[in-house]
Symmetry: C2
Subunit: 203 residues, 2 copies
C-alpha cells in the first residue's frame, strides 16, 4: 500500500476509535468520522466499506489481538507468575489509556447493535495465561491444586470483569489500585502451599 | 392500585423483560411489547410512560434491588462465609434463569443507548458482602489480612464479570461450574491462615 493511503487509513481508524470510545457505536456516523479525521466520507467507504467495517478494524487493531503485548510475557528470565501479573497490568493500562483499545472494548460490549460478529481477545488471553501457569508449575512455583487451563479461564473472566466494572463505576484512574486488590485476593491461591500448613477444607 | 391494573402492569413488565432479554433495548419497540403481552400500546404509555419507563421498571424490579435475596444471607445460624457463597449462587441462578433479572442485566450493559440513568445493584451487593465479611471476621473465620469493604468491592466486580463473560462466551448452563472454579480460586484467600504455615510473600 502506498504511504499516503496507509496514512489515510490510520488517521481514519484513529478518529473512528476516538469517537467510538467517547460516544459509542450507535451515536457515531461516517460523517462524524470524516469531520474528526479531516478526510472525506468517501475515504471511509473506500478504505473500510463504511461504519461497520471501520468498527471491526478498530476492534482488530488492538483489543482483539494484543500483538504488542507478546514481548513481556515471553521473557523467560522472569518467573512465570510475575510475567502473568505484569501482563495484566499492561492490559489494564491499555484499557485505561489507549483510545484504540478502549474503543475496541466498548465496541465489543456494544456488539449486539453491530450486525457482524465482533472478535474478542479472551481465547488468546486464556491461552497465554494457561501457558504461563503451566510454566510456573514446571518451575515449582504453582500450587499443586491449580489446573492451568481451568484457572486461566477463571482469571481472564474475573480480570476483565473487574476492569470493565471499575471503569464503569469509578473511572480508569482507579484501575491500577483495584487490580492490586484483586491480585492480593487471587495470587495466594496460585502460589505453592506452605510446607507444613494445613489449609482449611475448600468449598 | 386495582387488581386489574396491577395485573396489566405485571404482564406488560414481564413481556417487556422477555423481549429486552432476547433482543436488547434498541431492537424492542412499544408495539413489540404490546403484541407479546396482548395489551394495547396505550397501556404501555399509560402505565409506564413508554419504552424507557418500562425498561427502567424492569431493571428496578429485580436486577437493581434483589429484595428477594435478603432472606438467605440474614440467617445467622449459618456461618457468614457460607452465606456469602450461597448468595453468589442465588444471584448467578437468577442471572441465568429469571427473565426479569436477565433483562435488567442486559439493559444495564446497554445503558449507553438509554437516555435516563440505569440503576445498578453493585453498591447493594458490596454492602451485603462487606457485612458478611465483617461478621466472618468477628467469628474468627476470616484471614486477618482481609479488609472487608475493600475485599467486598473486589469480589463483587470479579464475580459479576465472571457471570456476564461466561454467559457471553459459553451460555448460562456453564455458570454454576465456572462460579465453583472461581470460588476454588478465591475462597482460600478469605479463610484464616493455618496456624504455623508460612505463606510466601504476596505481590
Amino acid at each position: 500500500m502506498q504511504e499516503r493511503a496507509k496514512a489515510t487509513r490510520r488517521s481514519l481508524l484513529e478518529a473512528a476509535a476516538q469517537l467510538f470510545a467517547e460516544q459509542g457505536y450507535a451515536a457515531t456516523s461516517v460523517n462524524d468520522i470524516s469531520a474528526r479525521s479531516g478526510r472525506t466520507s468517501g475515504a471511509v467507504y473506500f478504505h473500510y466499506t463504511g461504519k461497520e467495517g471501520i468498527a471491526l478494524a478498530v476492534v482488530e487493531d488492538r483489543f482483539a489481538t494484543w500483538s504488542q503485548l507478546a514481548a513481556p510475557y515471553e521473557d523467560e528470565t522472569v518467573p512465570p507468575l510475575e510475567r502473568l501479573v505484569a501482563l495484566s497490568y499492561a492490559i489494564a493500562h491499555d484499557l485505561a489509556r489507549d483510545p484504540v483499545t478502549r474503543a475496541g472494548a466498548r465496541l465489543w460490549a456494544e456488539r449486539t447493535v453491530i450486525t457482524a460478529p465482533v472478535p474478542d481477545p479472551f481465547a488468546l488471553w486464556t491461552t497465554a495465561a494457561t501457558r504461563l501457569l503451566a510454566q510456573a508449575r514446571l518451575a515449582g512455583h504453582l500450587n499443586e491444586r491449580v489446573r492451568p487451563a481451568r484457572t486461566a479461564r477463571t482469571l481472564v473472566r474475573s480480570f476483565f470483569g473487574l476492569c470493565t466494572l471499575t471503569d464503569a463505576l469509578e473511572g480508569t484512574t482507579a484501575l491500577d489500585d483495584r487490580l492490586t486488590d484483586w491480585w492480593h485476593l487471587t495470587l495466594p491461591s496460585l502460589r505453592p502451599q506452605p510446607p507444613r500448613g494445613n489449609l482449611p477444607a475448600g468449598l
